[in-house]
């Protein structure tokens, strides 16, 4: 693994906020690069990509079950997390408890509620297969 990728840490979902708070207190964080979410079978992984002051990436990974995708939000302690959490909330349907601003960020207003494009059961159709142009092509199975 290169320095750019850096090391990986895995902790239970419930401890995320405490872990980030400790990391902040240690003064070793350079920046929170982003938060990634992806689905892996019956669970969703959330990865927090940090840069450590010692000049290496630091990736914190937590898993939440697909059936109850909730974890504490880090936005109250680190405002950089807010937009990334809202994005994941839009696209993967993960609920962040205590998020400062839970509104939709990226998907259009008319996009169906409860449909999350990044989940693996979401398939979309090309424009040519759409019956009415302009309707959201995707459906959850």
């Amino acid at each position: 693994m290169s320095a750019q990728t850096g090391s990986w840490v895995e902790i239970p979902a419930g401890e995320v906020r405490q872990w980030v708070a400790d990391f902040l207190d240690s003064g070793q964080m350079r920046v929170l690069s982003t938060i990634t979410g992806y689905q892996e079978g019956e669970r969703i992984a959330i990865v927090y990509h940090f840069v450590h002051k010692e000049s290496a990436g630091l990736n914190l990974r937590v898993f939440v079950p697909l059936s109850a995708p909730t974890l504490p939000s880090i936005s109250p302690i680190l405002s950089a997390g807010l937009l990334y959490e809202r994005e994941i909330q839009d696209l993967l349907g993960v609920t962040f408890e205590g998020i400062l601003d839970p509104r939709r960020l990226i998907l259009p207003e008319e996009f169906p509620v409860g449909v999350y494009p990044l989940r693996t059961n979401y398939h979309y159709h090309g424009a040519e297969e759409k019956e009415t142009p302009g309707q959201p092509g995707g459906k959850a199975e």
Partner: protein, 391 residues
């Protein structure tokens, strides 16, 4: 005039070349609240990337953004190469740096022009865009394209530099360096310009830190994070250069950082041309990618750009995550905007050099099974665009 008004800006507004929506609550000329609504540019690229092969994704990522196309393509290539365990030849690494720094020059000149335009200084806009054409010409000489260069491939680069091209590049750089000094002079001396940027949109160092600001926005507030220095990629580890920072924290600070970086970029390219190693420009990449995951960071003109690629062992990635620098800087912008004048909205927004097509892109997954593996190159894209219907 204590009556509150809502001032919507966007999605169509002369200030923005790209669609995004801001809702400002103003009292007279003072901003008391600012809200952002994105998604006007959301195309679902991350989902699309999951359903295309790695090589197709390289060209798809290149089209996340037309200004920093090399950024995303290189970034994706780096992440994929790391999963594959490929080591690109040194010459390829240097060539990536050359194109990347030329792109930075073109992007910063573009920014300077836009910033001039936002404060109504159209002459600066025209002049800096005139000189940007020099950088565009160099990019065209080296890569063959003005935008979306198509320079990268998995395992290296696609085009080599010959002696004549190096010569032309040197000449162009000479001109760019002279012009940059002139801009440095304008930015730090022109009275009306200074009046509009000094002490405007102040972002204190602590706020820049906690809101995750990157690139010139962070460096203009005194944070010295530069991926090229701290997590070097391509050939940056071997190239001497300075990280430009400014402690000012206002729009002027960000402008000074960008002008300083223009000069550094010229130096970097010159060093690369002088020390260009011999050898091949690419190694062969396997079609299948082993199981794995990698994070790749790149110092884009606007700041740190990060790609996360996850492979499940097939010829298509199972997850591609892109975080463009503007997304990191957006969080800081609310702080900059509050209690400022309406007249300062344009320059404050422009000061982070927003690039919403990068930011909104989001879901990049490659299309699974619905289409044959197809490489979308320039030719085919052109063909498609002319044919009107997919071929």
């Amino acid at each position: 005039m204590s009556e509150r008004m809502i001032l919507p800006i966007g999605p169509q507004h002369p200030l923005l070349k790209e669609p995004i929506h801001f809702k400002f609550t103003i009292e007279g000329e003072l901003i008391v609240e600012a809200e952002i609504r994105m998604g006007y540019n959301h195309r679902g690229i991350e989902k699309a990337a999951e359903e295309r092969t790695y090589l197709q994704d390289l060209y798809l990522t290149e089209r996340i953004c037309g200004i920093c196309s090399h950024v995303h393509a290189t970034n994706f290539a780096q992440a994929t190469e790391e999963i594959m365990g490929l080591q690109i030849p040194p010459r390829a690494a240097y060539l990536r740096v050359v194109v990347g720094e030329l792109e930075r020059i073109h992007s910063h000149l573009l920014w300077l022009g836009v910033a001039g335009h936002e404060v109504g200084y159209d002459t600066l806009f025209m002049v800096s865009w005139r000189d940007r054409e020099i950088a565009q010409d160099l990019l065209e000489i080296i890569t063959g394209n003005r935008v979306n260069y198509g320079m990268n491939t998995l395992g290296g680069v696609r085009k080599d530099l010959d002696a004549e091209q190096i010569d032309q590049t040197r000449k162009g750089l000479q001109e760019l360096a002279e012009r940059t000094l002139y801009y440095g002079n304008v930015v730090s001396n022109e009275t009306t310009f200074i009046a509009r940027v000094a002490n405007v949109g102040v972002l204190p160092k602590e706020v820049a830190y906690s809101s995750g600001a990157v690139g010139p926005t962070a460096r203009g507030s005194g944070l010295d994070y530069d991926v090229r220095k701290h997590l070097p990629y391509a050939a940056y580890g071997e190239i001497p250069f300075e990280v430009v920072t400014s402690p000012r924290g206002d729009v002027l600070g960000r402008a000074l950082v960008r002008v300083g970086e223009l000069l550094e970029s010229v130096k970097i390219i010159r060093y690369c041309l002088d020390h260009l190693p011999d050898g091949p420009i690419a190694v062969k990449a396997p079609r299948k990618v082993p199981v794995g995951e990698a994070v790749s960071r790149y110092e884009a003109p606007r700041g740190e750009c990060i790609h996360y690629v996850r492979s499940n062992g097939s010829d298509k990635p199972s997850r591609v995550k892109v975080r463009a620098p503007t997304m990191g800087n957006l969080a800081s912008i609310r702080h900059c905007l509050l209690n400022q004048q309406v007249a300062d909205i344009p320059i404050i927004l422009a000061a982070i050099d927003p690039c919403f097509s990068c930011t909104d892109r989001t879901v990049m997954l490659v299309k699974e099974g619905t289409r044959e593996a197809e490489v979308m190159g320039w030719e085919e894209l052109r063909l498609r665009s002319i044919a009107r219907r997919p071929i």
